[in-house]
Symmetry: none
Subunit: 259 residues, 2 copies
DNA sequence: CGTTATATGATTGAGGTCAATCATATCTTT
DNA sequence: AAAGATATGATTGACCTCAATCATATAACG
């Protein structure tokens, strides 16, 4: 009765995608669709659940709500502790009330998650174009959550484009927390034009600009420049000041750096 | 053993708020928290569910539109096959390309899910204010997904408010698929002012208006009227025409009804 | 105050899910 | 080619949820 391993793997991949597509899949349905017994269906469920983004429930399995945005799960990846430290520092800059903007990206998603741990928020208005950040902040105490509309970009799980830029005109932010893919002597940069353009639009509406980048972005130059150093209120990073200077990044003021 | 009526009512109100707060409440937990037997807990659940916005599931009860359980909510209860049938009919009205709007609500979420089963879409622009629908449609083949920004309402997992209404001004839809909580002789209605207001704004930008309601909404009147029958292109429902007329709902044209 | 209505808890049985066990076929490894 | 490993399906019993039923205490009502 044994079946080749690669067929098992393929069947489980199919099971995962079936669950993702249907949202919920009863065990009986799995048996029918995959042509296996209940026992095997359950065993497959255990295996698929262990790989993440699927939750077993009584009677079947459920796709996690965020599974559509799984590509941007900030809890995975090597830079996780670094991101958590950065998020900690960034959240410390957020007042109890006011209006802030949260960008897309895994680092900022970590900021959003850290923000939910704050128990002292009175009435903080948070706007974001990141659906991942939004799903993290949904229902957070003391937070009035707004989503800046726009075209959905699958890769970032974020909303961008001309409609997003136009929607920003309505806003005025006390602070914005942005991510970048590179920082060098010239400032912060990103690899996609649409992202850079959107971020520049955010800068126009914002008093205090915090860029959050982990040390791996050090000295890296990506095509689309977003902001020069002077424009930043602070750079939030886990890199040491010495590392920054050796990479040719000038530190005009101690205030600009929260490492 | 009988308990005063006002105490029963108060206990059920508390139960409702407990469910709303926790999103999901197992029966055992209800017994513990309210100090009643399982039998009473179930009876209370039946009563609370009848009053709306709560859905019983195997093992407990679920607050409607809870984002964390969006998928589970959609498939839960005996209304699932009805919703699936409605979704099937609604999706049949959607062309291969064009621009459509999808509302919030579990019925429309089912429409979104059914839409992902369509394999013939060439370039369909879908705008929505529902994050649940967005997460379903994220990455769907042939779909350009847009999210209409606004204030996030936790209960609906949707975006509403003045910013959402204003964002609609940019749009022109070939068709819109909307949900309602009641339909009677006067037309379709909803129980929340913000929802009704938003839906009215959608109507202004839309050529063909499809309201999707299951038969349980029949003859039910909720406070905020959204649209009279004349304004609809079609009502998509699983109720029989005879049922509609006996509930005092006029059928001006066969074309208006896809049951 | 007496009668009626009903909210409650206990019990029962039906229906369903699930983990554990076991024999078996067959893939995998040596 | 032989031995070992393992994926599978059938079976079993435990466990849980739930609706229905019943007796009872007590609120509600005339």
């Amino acid at each position: 009765m044994r079946v080749p391993q690669h067929l098992v793997d393929r069947r489980r991949e199919e099971l995962r995608s079936l669950i993702r597509r249907d949202g919920f899949l009863p065990v009986a349905e799995i048996c029918r669709r995959l042509g296996v017994s209940e026992a095997t269906a359950r065993r497959d469920l255990v295996a698929v659940e262990a790989n993440g983004h699927i939750t077993r429930t009584y009677g079947g399995a459920l796709a996690d709500y965020n599974s559509a945005f799984a590509s941007l799960d900030e809890r995975s990846g090597r830079a996780r502790p670094a991101k958590a430290r950065i998020a900690e520092k960034a959240v410390a800059q957020i007042p109890r009330s006011g209006t802030i903007f949260l960008d897309a990206g895994t680092t900022i998603q970590a900021v959003a998650r850290a923000l939910t741990h704050r128990r002292d928020l009175t009435h903080l208005v948070v706007a974001t174009n990141s659906l991942a950040a939004a799903s993290v902040l949904a229902g957070a105490a003391g937070v009035e959550l707004h989503v800046v509309g726009g075209m959905f970009l699958n890769r970032q799980a974020a909303l961008m484009g001309t409609r997003a830029v136009r929607a920003l005109e309505d806003w005025s932010f006390d602070a914005a927390f942005l991510s970048g893919e590179g920082m060098d002597d010239a400032g912060v940069s990103n690899s996609h034009e649409s992202i850079a353009e959107f971020q520049r639009a955010v800068l126009h509406q914002t008093d205090n600009i915090y860029f959050c980048l982990d040390a791996s972005k050090l000295g890296r130059s990506t095509p689309h420049r977003v902001a020069p150093w002077k424009q930043l209120t602070a750079l939030v990073t886990d890199a040491l000041p010495k590392q920054l200077t050796t990479h040719g990044i000038e530190l005009s003021s101690r205030k600009h750096l929260r490492a």
